[in-house]
Amino acid sequence: MKRRMLLSWVMAVIAAVVTGGCGSESPTAPSAGGVVVQGVVLGGGASSVAAADTQTSAAQAKKVTVKVDGTSLSVDVSASGTFQFTGIPSGTFTLVFLADGVEIGRVVVTAEEGSEVKIVVQVTESTLVVVEIKVESREPKDATTSSSCVVNGGKAGERIELEGTVASGSSTQFDLTATGRSSADVVVNAGSASFKCNGSAKTTSATECKASLKTGSRVHVRGTLMSCATAQVTAIEVMVQK
């Protein structure tokens, strides 16, 4: 009888290990190496954004799916709002977010082999806003590499704020001539950034503000520096000065 009980416990432990392992399994057939993306989608319940003295809220409940553009990688966001990809080929890739099958936003990410991308987005109505994005390298870079990989004081994979003038492009992606940077323009991916206008256009809505962006616009960009070789920033917020 004791042997039977012991066997039951062994079987239970094996089952727990097997099923526990499923928790971190990605349905996208992860390959060794590559890039890991961990994400959280906010907005399934009562959401609130608190900045200074402002507070807005949104409530919706749509099934959100995330795809890696140009690949077969796709994953449904869990009821808790989490999703995870493993084994994404390194380099620049685009995460496409869909709500009930309809595309609501894209986020361009550049990450090296072995790095881990952590992204938090918020879904409001049928739009997507990037709240935070970080790129963490699994292997720490040496000082030489880190110091060479700096754009206006910002390091790759970390938060950066830039001031400058729009040289070309659209509100989805534009080249920014950054103040204090003598070399090439910075490519700003702003497809899922929140837009704000100040100055004379302070009362303009986010949509109107986004549409008002043109060559020569003075902007303040807040986002994450994705790479320094080609100076690429994924914007979280674009403040149009004029």
Binding site: A12, V18, G23, V40, A61, V77, S80, V131, E132
Partner: protein
């Protein structure tokens, strides 16, 4: 947890059934089916996030082998730079087929889990709270130390629906049980 929920459920129910069958039938019962209180460490997954916290539950006998169960759990953790907090409240029935020192049980609960997520994005703090409804199926084992106290290990699979998706999240808890009455 995205894969293997059927396997996990089968394993859980199989565990409870096999332990029930393995329990020494001839052994004198340590206690009758008495009301009990449980408190202990609890681990749960919320989608891809791993959370840790506390589990509390109370049971009231409805018969020799059947009990009414109220289960409360609180967990927190982080994932992808966001902070998670989760509070679960479920109620249901527990079947305890034997009454020896080893008391395996199987249970099914219905209820809800409220998950709060917040992220600090510099000068902006974004938070989100959502209640998912569903059921928990699982079982466990009580090891009686004496007539009052027992050690418990339990496993639940929580099937929760929210945001257009079903999550199958495992939960594990270990702790102590205090039995009231005789």
């Amino acid at each position: 947890m995205r894969a293997g929920p059927v396997l996990a459920l089968a394993a859980t129910l199989g565990l409870a059934a096999s332990l029930a069958g393995a329990a020494p039938r001839g052994a004198a019962p340590a206690t009758s089916n008495a009301p009990g209180l449980f408190a202990g460490y609890s681990y749960a997954e919320a989608g891809d996030a791993s959370l840790h916290g506390l589990g509390l539950s109370g049971s009231y006998p409805l018969g020799v082998t059947l009990s009414l169960v109220l289960d409360l759990s609180g967990h927190d953790g982080s994932f992808a730079g966001a902070d998670f907090g989760q509070l679960g409240l479920m109620a249901g029935a527990r079947w305890t087929p034997s009454s020896g020192r080893f008391r395996p049980f199987a249970e099914g609960l219905l209820g809800g889990v409220r998950t709060s997520v917040s992220v600090d994005g510099g000068d902006v703090r974004v938070s989100d709270a959502d209640t998912d409804w569903g059921l928990a199926l699982g079982g466990g084992l009580d090891y009686g130390l004496n007539e009052r106290w027992a050690l418990r290990a339990l496993f639940h699979l929580r099937f929760l629906h929210g945001e257009g998706a079903w999550d199958t999240d495992p939960r594990l808890a270990v702790g102590a049980v205090f039995r009231l009455g005789r």
